[in-house]
């Protein structure tokens, strides 16, 4: 009974559509059907025509197409906007923008979009959404118009600029207008004025645009102005580039610092060569994975907090493993560096295999919270990614807390006492064995915390630790054994040197050069940048 009424309903709808169609929307109707053309060239023509109608429904249809939600019904070739619900699709008629029912996915065929079409769609949507209420949408619309550079957009752009109140968006619109004027057929003085406007926005996109203009422009004065503007922008971009390099260097340095600071305790302060340090880092990363699994299963809404929750847990897990390693193996080997090295190397293999057996050999997916995804564009051409910024901040925080613990707490005092003079400390009533275990646990726990940060930028696999162990030793030795400030300076200077070498020498050669430089440096200053002085050194 119900089906009949639906049938009648849809029949009525169809009837009204066909009746009202010829009067109001015949053109639009046909154009929408053209969107399902076979070749991309035909689709592009259809998109341009749909956009030209300026119809209110055009934006909705084109956005659906851009997002891959425009489908063709197999039986009659009619085009629908769809939303997915489980395995079925809810159809929306593009002409009425009303829902018309639900069908199985097998009855539909997706209208394919490729990069070129996506660019055209973005441009078309850009000119359609220049007057949107949302400033973010207006800004991206202006960017799309800038990329599209179609002279047809000038009236819409001028109208939008008159109404625009947001300065940032207005600047983007000015850029877009200048770009169109410069590339379209406009008089000489307007083109030169456009170059002037563009010079004020030194971004890689403007550089690309001007580079093209310099090569193709016929009018000499314009070409000359563009060339001057280009060299000006290139100079400024080179400066931003250098700042970008420093940032990348700091970021690499912060990763090195995180990996090395735990080692600075176990190797630098205690003198234990712990080859399993990298695996303690890896355990921290897997703890993050486990925490995220719990969050995904039980608190999907609070996923953004998972990384924060993982930090103390990773500290605990790696710290406990560290204490177990110290009590179980290392305490029998104090003063025998070679045996310690071999034993901890073995431990590192055992830990790797343990993780491989438990979690499998393949990488585990650790998600990034939303506040760590994406980037901020400081000025044109200088893009800083959030995850890297957080990690730089986090590494400094960890180092700061560690210094605080060592300098200001009773445990820190005992730790320093034991490492400087074990017998004396023991005779003063400090339980040296207990302090040893906790110190090693502290170093291991910090390694675990480093693992949380590394899980955000590297693959979480059983091999994660191996990639960092050599670098960590390098940083500690370079910075000066037993000196946390040395570790800080060592990590950041190695990071920055590496990043400045990379563009010229390539990744592999840059690493080799840094390694050679360190070998030479150690020849000259065997105790590193900040050597400890005094009697404690000889002990």
């Amino acid at each position: 009974m119900k089906t009949i009424s639906t049938f009648v309903g849809s029949l009525l709808l169809l009837l009204t559509l066909t009746l009202s169609g010829p009067v109001a929307a015949q053109g639009f109707d046909e154009l929408v059907t053209d969107l399902s053309a076979k070749s991309f060239n035909a689709k592009i023509k259809a998109v341009e025509k749909v956009a030209e109608t300026g119809d209110d429904r055009a934006a909705a249809v084109l956005r659906a197409m851009l997002e891959g939600r425009l489908f063709e019904r197999k039986e009659d070739g009619k085009v629908f906007i769809t939303t997915r619900e489980g395995r079925a699709y809810v159809l929306t008629d593009p002409l009425t923008l009303k829902e018309v029912g639900q069908v199985k996915s097998s009855t539909l065929k997706k209208i394919k979009v490729n990069n070129r079409l996506r660019g055209v769609l973005n441009g078309a949507l850009g000119s359609l959404t220049l007057l949107s209420k949302d400033p973010v949408k207006r800004a991206s619309a202006a960017e799309a118009v800038f990329k599209n550079r179609s002279a047809d957009d000038i009236p819409a752009l001028e109208k939008a600029m008159e109404r625009e109140t947001d300065a940032g968006v207005k600047a983007k619109m000015e850029m877009a207008l200048a770009a169109i004027q410069l590339t379209a057929d406009s008089p000489e003085e307007i083109k030169i004025a456009a170059v002037d406007v563009l010079t004020g926005h030194p971004t890689p996109e403007v550089r690309a645009l001007l580079g093209g203009v310099v090569q193709s422009e016929q009018v000499e004065s314009v070409a000359k102005a563009a060339a001057e503007a280009l060299s000006d922008i290139e100079r400024r971009l080179a400066f931003f580039n250098a700042i970008g390099n420093v940032f990348q260097g700091l970021s690499l340095g912060s990763v090195l610092l995180l990996a090395a600071v735990g080692l600075a305790i176990t190797f630098g302060v205690m003198g234990v060569i712990n080859m399993a340090h990298g695996e303690l880092v890896m355990l921290g990363a897997y703890t993050t994975f486990m925490v995220q699994e719990v969050f995904r299963a039980y608190f999907p809404g609070a996923f953004d907090w998972s990384v924060i929750v993982a930090i103390p847990l990773a500290f605990g897990v790696s710290g406990l493993f560290g204490i177990a390693i110290e009590r179980g193996v290392i305490r029998y080997l104090y003063g025998r560096p070679l045996e310690t090295l071999l034993a901890t190397w073995g431990l590192s293999l055992i830990l790797q295999q343990l993780v491989r057996s438990l979690f499998g050999p393949t990488n585990r997916d650790v998600g990034s919270p939303s506040w760590m995804s994406g980037s901020v564009e400081v000025t044109g051409g200088l893009v800083l990614t959030y995850n890297r910024m957080w990690i730089i901040f986090f590494s400094l925080l960890v180092l700061g807390l560690l210094l605080l613990v060592i300098r200001k707490t009773a445990f820190g005092l005992q730790m320093r006492a034991v490492t400087q003079n074990r017998q004396m400390a023991g005779s003063m009533g400090i339980r040296t064995g207990y302090v040893d275990a906790l110190t090693f646990g502290l170093g291991a726990g910090i390694a675990g915390v480093a693992g949380v940060a590394l899980s955000q930028i590297d693959n979480v696999s059983p091999n994660l630790g191996q990639a960092y162990i050599i670098d960590s030793f390098m940083v500690v030795v370079f910075g000066g054994v037993g000196n946390l400030w040395g570790t800080l300076v060592g990590a950041f200077s190695l990071g920055i040197i590496n990043k400045f070498l990379e563009p010229f020498a390539g990744t592999v050669l840059a690493k080799i050069l840094v390694l050679i430089a360190i070998i030479l440096f150690i020849q000259k200053r065997p105790r590193g940048l900040f050597a400890l002085k005094g009697r404690a050194v000889e002990a």
Partner: protein, 429 residues
């Protein structure tokens, strides 16, 4: 004395019966070696192929085995360690006595097993796209050669639909496959009038994770006023941080498309692909292709692996085609003897999962269709371009002058993998 004799006789009988049962046992099964890394940097890609072979073996046994015998898979783990590949290959052939080996992913691992498989006259099916410039009597290459993947992909990006790219960034992992592919691509780009100043080449080590500088360099290179495209031959798990960095630095496919030759559905699984929509991959197979053969394969795969979420990819299809061809050739030859099976391999036909028919050519490469797909938000690829028919795999690239002269043909009168002239004079005429 008598007792001793008796014991002796008993022992003799025992050893005899053992030897006989050994023979009987060997005759009962056909052994298939699986040489894929199950740990290390390549495990992300290779573990799936091991499972694919196991699925095919399982399937074959359910249908009654091969030549009336059961088929048994011998799995070893070369652990992404290239010299270990050679050792494990030797172990498979001499100790485990396998009749055929399915294995290797990286070209460096294939190059490492090559002398062993040739010395012991084994048979290897290599299921991954590779750089070409090779044809061994003992290897069947079921993945794409450069003319079945790299060249069509670059041609697509040069075309109107692909965005008419004029400047090229060639990013790769530092080993033989990317370096050789890029050598071929550079020669190809030269032939299309692209100058050296419009080509940037960059190599990184396996497992590289810090992509900030390189992605920033690409951005800088792309802002020189010409449409720029990136061709990525980055291998293994280094791809994950690379794509993460692309997403974070906001490189959109409409501005700088990245076409990858080693990134398939498996590598994208577990990666947020929303910022990557539109970046491309060129393969001979995509999971999303709507085809009855493909649907059946995916169903079988999900049933075998007991996980509905697992994806399928191109090297799996290549493994599938290789395995099917090998079983057909064994049935035709009536034996698993390597030399007989090799002869039976030529001209074997298997239906592609994406439509059309794959044929084994006498240069040990397949004829297959080429597809180019764009990454979708759900981690799948959508085919945006494909060749009209199948493309014949070319062992020696036409774009490198010294290789253009070489021919690979393992039938009479050539019988050679890299010759300028046939080994024998043809008797006809």
């Amino acid at each position: 004395m008598k007792k001793k004799l008796l014991t002796f006789a008993a022992a003799g009988a025992l050893s005899l019966s053992m030897a006989m049962s050994g023979i009987a046992h060997a005759a009962d099964t056909i052994k298939v070696g699986v040489l894929h890394s199950l740990s290390g940097t390549m495990a992300i890609s290779e573990t799936t192929l091991k499972d694919t072979v196991l699925m095919m073996v399982d399937d074959l046994n359910k249908q009654g085995g091969l030549l009336g015998k059961k088929v048994e898979a011998v799995v070893v783990d070369p652990a992404s360690n290239w010299p270990l590949f050679a050792e494990k290959m030797r172990e498979l052939i001499t100790v485990n006595d396998v009749d055929v080996v399915f294995g290797c992913w990286t070209s460096v691992s294939r190059k490492s097993v090559l002398p062993v498989v040739e010395e012991l006259n084994g048979m290897l099916f290599y299921p991954v796209q590779y750089e070409g410039e090779e044809s061994s009597k003992n290897v069947f290459y079921t993945g794409a050669a450069p003319n079945q993947q790299a060249i069509p992909a670059v041609e697509y990006l040069m075309s109107e639909d692909g965005g008419e790219a004029k400047r090229w960034v060639l990013l790769g992992t530092d080993y033989v496959y990317p370096r050789t592919t890029n050598k071929i691509l550079r020669a190809f780009l030269h032939s299309k009038g692209v100058k050296d100043e419009d080509i940037m080449e960059n190599y990184t080590p396996f497992g590289h994770s810090d992509w900030q500088t390189i992605v920033a360099e690409v951005k800088k290179f792309a802002s020189a006023g010409k449409k720029t495209a990136v061709v990525s031959t980055i291998n293994g798990d280094a791809n994950v941080p690379f794509y993460k960095e692309l997403g974070n630095q906001g490189i959109k496919a409409e501005d700088i498309p990245v076409v990858a030759f080693s990134v398939g559905e498996e590598e994208l699984a577990g990666l947020d692909t929303a910022p990557l929509v539109g970046h491309l991959a060129a393969w001979n197979y995509f999971m999303s292709v709507d085809n009855p053969e493909n649907d059946a394969f995916i169903q079988k795969w999900h049933a075998f692996i007991k996980d509905e979420k697992r994806v399928s990819n191109d090297p799996m299809e290549a493994t599938y085609i290789g395995f099917k061809m090998w079983t057909q050739a064994v049935e035709q030859a009536g034996t698993t003897d390597v030399d007989a099976v090799r002869q039976a391999m030529y001209g074997q036909k298997v239906k592609n999962l994406t439509g059309g028919i794959a044929v084994m050519n006498t240069n040990h490469h397949l004829s297959k269709p080429v597809l180019i797909g764009e990454i979708q938000p759900d981690g799948q690829f959508e085919t945006v371009w494909e060749t009209d028919g199948v493309v014949k795999g070319d062992a020696w690239s036409d774009y490198i002058p010294e290789s253009a002269k070489l021919t690979a043909d393992w039938t009479y009168p050539w019988v050679c993998g890299n010759c300028k002239e046939p080994k024998f004079k043809a008797l006809i005429n």
